[in-house]
Symmetry: C2
Subunit: 117 residues, 2 copies
Amino acid sequence: MSNHPEAPVRPVEAYEPPYYVAVFTTVRTQDQSGYSETNARMEELVKDVPGYLGMDHAQTPGGLAITVGYFRDAEALTAWRSDIEHRAAQKRGRAEWYQSYTLHVAKVERSHGFTRA
Amino acid sequence: MSNHPEAPVRPVEAYEPPYYVAVFTTVRTQDQSGYSETNARMEELVKDVPGYLGMDHAQTPGGLAITVGYFRDAEALTAWRSDIEHRAAQKRGRAEWYQSYTLHVAKVERSHGFTRA
C-alpha cells in the first residue's frame, strides 16, 4: 500500500465487469510495531493470487485508512482469504494493530474511469 | 468527507447484505478552488437520498483519495447519480479538480466488522 514516489500516483483502472472489490476500512491503534513489515509482505503475497487485479490505498493522517483490493472473481478472493500467512496477519491485526475495521466484499456491476487529457 | 475532530473516527459499519458501494478513487489537480465548498455541499445533499447509508473517506496527503459511499439499493444510487447539483459538480470535477479517477459500483455480498473491546 506504499506509494512509489518515482511514479505518478494513479488509481487502479476500471476493469470490465464483473469483478470483485474488497473494501477494507480501518482505524489503527497506537501500537503499530511490526505493521509496516507485515503490510509490505502482504502487498507482495497478494500479487501471487491468480485473479488479483490491483489495490488502491489512502490514509488520512491520524484518521481513517481505506484499502480496496480488486479481484477477477470470487475464487481469487477465496484464495486470498485462505492464505495461511494472510490469516496470521489478520489475527495479529485484531490483536494489535486495529482499533476497528469493516470489510465489504462486493461484485462490481459497472465502472468507468477518467484521465485528464 | 471531513473528519469531525470532536468525535472519534470510525469506519462505516457492516450493513446486512445486499447493499451497494460506490468506490471513487481520485487524484486531484493543482487547482482546487471551489472544491471544498462543493464537496461539503455534496456531503449534505447525499444525506437526503432515500437509501443512503453512509460514507467513508481517506486521503493520503499529496496522493490518492478514496471515497466509498454506501447505499441500500440500486435505486438509491440512481437517485444520487441523477441529482442535478451532483451532475454539475461532477462536470466541474472533470473540468477542474480531478487529474484522474475511477468509479466502481458494486453490490455487497458479505461484510463484517471488528471493534476493539
